[in-house]
């Protein structure tokens, strides 16, 4: 299947999940991600898989826990308000060290917000969202092709590290159509000796659990989990660099805004402005090192985000506030135009670099 087909981003996620061996999907309708559920409803019965429209997002994520505990690949998807409801289950998945893929096709918030694209769940997905100390791997696709390929990657990482991988997309990525190749390559499988498969009266019972009443044990469990997170931060960081070799101004953007920024950067380059971009693909683990290195070469950073400034905090931390970081943002479902980003690039290029 190396030929390309024209697909919506949401559909690409659904088909890629199936290709990655996910035969169980639980969802609930919410704009702008409903196509994922609709696609699964069509496809799953044909491959002997499960599509189930749950009575709530809460129930859907708990069904995910059920399948995950048996060791099979499983996914749920939603949009911002629905992901808030899933937060309880995501925390339990973390506490039970269960692998699962959760897709968030973001819309504007808070509350019911709107149905237009947004990136305002950055904090929610990268900093937790549910209770307790935990991390999710968070992948931010910037094309329909990446909606597919990062979904496959998400399943691999979830199984490899036994934890939640999240696809953090937005309404634009979900709704836009682009050519996509669904050639996922070889799907790696992982041993899951902890899975609930029935003891057959041949082994001790397996218990999937997040309760540790003894604080000494719970502390050890948390330490162990953070050792795992440390190795993910060392080994799984993904980012794209664009025209960074001689860049003096560094744009940082993920998802749809990185594409808007690319247009603006091309325009600025045509006018002789030395600007480039670092696009985090993994929002957690965050590409701290490449940003820190860039801080030694660039005079200023610009974060282009569709929120009130969330990723900008991670950029400031990554570069230890060595250089000024400016925010170029639209919110509430508005998308920044290339002209707006270009104007910010020019302004920062002329005046930036000094605190």
């Amino acid at each position: 299947m190396s030929e390309k087909v024209l697909m919506k981003g949401n559909e690409a996620i659904a088909e890629a999940a199936i290709q990655a061996g996910c035969h169980h999907y639980f969802g609930y309708p919410i704009t702008p991600q409903t196509e994922v559920a609709a696609y699964m409803a069509k496809r799953m019965p044909k491959i002997g898989g499960t599509f189930l429209q749950a009575e709530s997002e809460v129930s859907a994520i708990n069904m995910v826990i059920g399948v995950a505990s048996t060791g099979k690949r499983v996914m749920t998807s939603s949009s911002s308000p629905g992901v808030s409801l899933k937060a309880e289950g995501i925390s339990y998945l973390a506490g039970c060290d269960l692998p699962a893929v959760v897709v968030n096709v973001q819309r504007g918030g808070p509350g019911l917000g709107g149905i237009q694209p947004s990136q305002s769940d950055y904090f929610q997905s990268t900093k937790g969202g549910g209770h307790g100390d935990y991390r999710n791997i968070v992948l931010a696709p910037a094309s329909v092709q990446e909606m597919a390929s990062l979904t496959v990657k998400a399943f691999d990482l979830a199984d490899k590290y036994s934890m939640v991988s999240m696809i953090l997309a937005d309404g634009t990525m979900g709704q836009m159509m682009e050519p996509v190749s669904l050639d996922v390559g070889e799907v790696k499988t992982y041993e899951k000796p902890w899975a609930l498969t029935g003891t057959k009266c041949e082994r001790e019972h397996n218990i999937v659990n997040s309760l540790y009443l003894k604080p000494e044990e719970l502390e050890v469990k948390n330490f162990e989990r953070y050792e795992k997170y440390k190795s993910i931060e060392e080994n799984e960081v993904m980012y794209e660099e664009y025209l960074m070799d001689d860049a003096e101004v560094c744009v940082v953007a993920f998802g749809i805004t990185s594409r808007v920024a690319k247009n603006a950067i091309n325009e600025a380059r045509a006018n002789g402005v030395k600007v480039g971009m670092i696009r985090p693909i993994t929002l957690w683990p965050f590409p701290k090192k490449v940003l820190a290195d860039a801080a030694d070469k660039c005079k200023a950073f610009i974060c282009v985000e569709m929120n009130m400034g969330q990723m900008i905090e991670d950029v400031e931390l990554a570069i230890r506030c060595k250089k000024p970081v400016y925010l170029c943002n639209r919110v509430g479902g508005m998308i920044p135009s290339p002209e707006e980003v270009l104007a910010k690039i020019n302004e920062v290029n002329e005046n930036g670099g000094a605190f």
Binding site: T50, M63, T70, Y92
Partner: protein, 251 residues
């Protein structure tokens, strides 16, 4: 010497943490006996609740997953859909099943999810120290209804079997008790049927077991058993509330 009584194979050697006189021990034993008799120990996956029975996973020898408060039927749905050849049961209390998990309960029944639900109703939140439950009786004193449950302000108890008897998807719903030998025998029959139904693919089966909480009711274990007869059973009458296969046979 012949053995006339022994611990069911499906129970581990772990010492139960339940309070003296609590009937969870009896109900655990009944479930384990049924698992033994049906020979399904190696194929069974249990789902533990939040509440007094949260550590049920330590007491049964089968595989177990511990669910968030009220979510056991959703987790069980996932387990069962993942591998329909497994026998999947939840073990839940009244706060878990009839308050925070009402939606999961009703909708897993509506889907006729092929799982078995053991619902332990002792009219109080035990684990947290005796607060008003969805099944707390009118007038019953608890930590959060210190003047007695006032139905004018906090409403009425939820009668789960009666409620589910109106859900088309529910296959089998029965209320039993474990406060005397006769009732215990009936309870075991019902629990066995609820597991047998799943083996035969008959769909959602729930057994409500009227139970006691001597500690939080502030009674001796003996008095608590009497209180079941005096107060609980008049409000929660025993019996089969739904059995679609018996109804079909009768036609």
């Amino acid at each position: 010497m012949s053995v006339v009584f022994e611990k069911p194979k499906s129970l581990t050697d772990a010492v139960l943490h339940y309070c003296p006189g609590c009937t969870h021990g009896i109900i655990h034993r009944l479930v384990a006996e049924v698992i033994d008799e049906l020979g399904i120990e190696g194929e069974t996956i249990g789902v533990a609740p939040v509440g007094c029975a949260v550590m049920a996973y330590n007491y049964f020898t089968c595989d177990f997953v511990q669910a968030a408060h009220g979510r056991a039927p959703a987790v069980a749905t996932g387990v069962k859909r993942s591998d329909p050849s497994k026998i999947v049961f939840t073990y839940q209390g009244d706060g878990d099943l009839a308050a925070i998990g009402t939606a999961e309960t009703v909708h897993s029944a509506a889907r006729r999810e092929n799982i078995t639900v053991i619902f332990v109703n002792n009219a109080i939140y035990g684990m947290t120290g005796g607060q008003m439950a969805p099944t707390t009786l009118p007038g019953q004193v608890t930590q959060t209804s210190p003047y007695g449950r006032d139905v004018e302000t906090v409403g009425y108890p939820v009668k789960v079997c009666e409620l589910l008897s109106n859900v088309d998807g529910a296959a089998y719903v029965e209320r039993v008790a474990v406060n005397n030998v006769k009732n215990i025998k009936n309870a075991k029959k019902a629990i066995k049927k609820a597991f047998q139904n799943q083996i035969e693919g008959k769909g959602f089966s729930l057994v409500e077991v009227v139970s006691t909480c001597p500690t939080n009711w502030g009674m001796t274990p003996e008095k608590a058993l009497e209180w079941v007869d005096e107060k609980m059973l008049p409000y929660y009458p025993l019996g089969v509330y739904k059995d679609i296969y018996a109804e079909e046979e009768a036609k």
